[in-house]
Symmetry: C2
Subunit: 420 residues, 2 copies
Amino acid sequence: MNDLTSANSELLALAGRVKEASRLVRLASAQQKNDALGYMAEGLEHAGEEILAANADDVDRAGRDGMPSTQVDRLRLTKARISDMAAQVLEVAALADPVGQVTRGYRLANGLAVSRERVPLGVVGIIYENRPNVTSDAAALCLKSGNAAFLRGSSAAFASNRAIASVLSEALAKAGLPREAVALVPDASRESAVAFMRLRGYIDCLIPRGGRSLIAAIEEHATVPYIIDGEGNCHIFVDASADLDAAENIVRNAKVQRPSVCNAVETVLVHRAVAPEFLSRIDRLLPEVEIHGDGETCTAISRAVPATEEDWATEYLDLKLAIRVVDGVEAAVDHISRYGTGHSEAILTNDYANANLFVREVDAAAVLVNASTRFVDGNQLGLGAEIGISTQKLHARGPMGLEALTTERYVIEGNGQVRG
Amino acid sequence: MNDLTSANSELLALAGRVKEASRLVRLASAQQKNDALGYMAEGLEHAGEEILAANADDVDRAGRDGMPSTQVDRLRLTKARISDMAAQVLEVAALADPVGQVTRGYRLANGLAVSRERVPLGVVGIIYENRPNVTSDAAALCLKSGNAAFLRGSSAAFASNRAIASVLSEALAKAGLPREAVALVPDASRESAVAFMRLRGYIDCLIPRGGRSLIAAIEEHATVPYIIDGEGNCHIFVDASADLDAAENIVRNAKVQRPSVCNAVETVLVHRAVAPEFLSRIDRLLPEVEIHGDGETCTAISRAVPATEEDWATEYLDLKLAIRVVDGVEAAVDHISRYGTGHSEAILTNDYANANLFVREVDAAAVLVNASTRFVDGNQLGLGAEIGISTQKLHARGPMGLEALTTERYVIEGNGQVRG
């Protein structure tokens, strides 16, 4: 059932306790879970000084270790950030409880009453990087959906994570729930990450939140079920019939509003018929963005540098944009099916047939018509907070809210039926 | 994205063609898919002699290789079995097409129209053992749900599978669909199985249909997403208030009707208050079944042999039954949470509170009250044919019909919206 040889015994013992905790939290009422979330938010505010002190240790060490400043920024907490974390926990508390929802119900000819009901997954494992706020965000979503949260943060954020997790466990206890329904792996070594992803029988779903090397390690070593929150190499195709004023707004929004996130646009495909006009607009529109273009783009935008094969395949997560001129919607779809990562793909058009064709043929978690790719986000789409954005097709695709942290079971009620 | 080092180049080239085929079959209309299924059924009937000749080669070789006769039985085709395969394909054709179903739709405050729509997974990989009928059953379900079927059967059934797959590809071509929307791996070596489960980027979902060693190999080596169709160590708890006549029927049905399948009962838990009466009934009821019991059971049923720890954990798939006397519903739930595999668990009771407690606390794909575990089957539960029964929690849990072969994507339609 599980591969224990590579897991150290301390981790294994903890995993056993988290699994036990999951059996109790699975049965907790919505009220009890909301009480715990309320105590968590309170606790984060009250323990602000202790969390900041622990975080200062992490930040100092990171500075000494030469961590790049953008990463140190992610690691650093402030009083305001802790208040945001508490507010986020309360937002999760305010969401509807998915547990117990009956998604389908029917009666069979033989009289059996069949229903499908949402139940928690059990233990949700999260591997994440330097942002300490993930500790409380993920824990809150897991608890609300009736799961235990088994957290494995980075070593750089260990003191911060430990201080936060301790507050969360205290809140669970205050609400009469097991402390280890939120548990932090005490050893943040690379070996422990591999052991963690091999805790088959203890982790029901692993959600890695990190870059390529983490995803590659999961694919290679994980024996537990997992959901990949992968890259978003998102495209916007500006068709010949697009409203170019709207297209300007959308491209700017999708590239510049927050370039470091997975739903930002990375390549714009422009229909040849509007290329001269739209490319010159882009040149003025995005002065702060480095343009990597094909031949026609480089002709139209003198500051553009020639795009390589790698540019088409790259999720920049930065103020960089690849641009290619294409012959039409079919060529745009071909480009996307070759280079896209199945995240979010948009067409800007006023042509009904082209919109239909694009929506039909593009295979991605989200396909958009005349809207910014930045909308592909759990909160924006009305799911409430999100635990990640799945780029795989199994279980959950696209933004994952509370429902993605549940599974459905059959409940079958009879009065003595046997199979004929 | 994918690990090609261990995949041989022939397999990789085939995988590329199957992926291409999946892009076309994904867009096929329900009519076109049904036409192909009709041609498949016709083709199987027409090519009966060729399939039987190929199968005779497999059966002869299996005999020479000393394959056990029960396995040879599974491998052997007859004219009637081929007709059953054709009929099964037509049954799949008659099911509703899941592709394009809108599962949710709403409009956001900013005017964006959001819908979630079922779309095919893409390429579904199936690794299976000696039953050649799986070739057509799986291919039909994959096609109906808009997927390409990438099949890797056993070497023992290779000639049979090749003959069947060839008929299916011919039918696809006749319907104007790509032949390689059904493809059989030409090399059935163990190395090829490992290479197959590492075709990341080519297989969107792998469904292994086989025993423990196959599952273990998948957990260890697979880099593609997969769904485990695992063991069913199913229990029936006979409560103090159970109608013992109904309980007799149900236990007999669940054990004897078809002992070799995963939804057959393996352990019966009997409430102490009715143990003397019910155990003596079981003794008479199941003369052909070997009983492995705890101390009290062995006292009541003289032919019973003492159960070991291993008996509680074993999926017999045979005319064997473990029996344990327990103090009540809580003890039954504890036993099940310790030894169950999360498949199908039943309580037989007339006590409302106990039924509720059992349903609430038992964590399994299906929980039944006063009905046989044998109902946990896609066909019985109204899903139509099934591709397997998932014992994991991600994506699909319990019987998997056509919906389990789809994923949901977001379609977001706007008129120029950008994120604020």
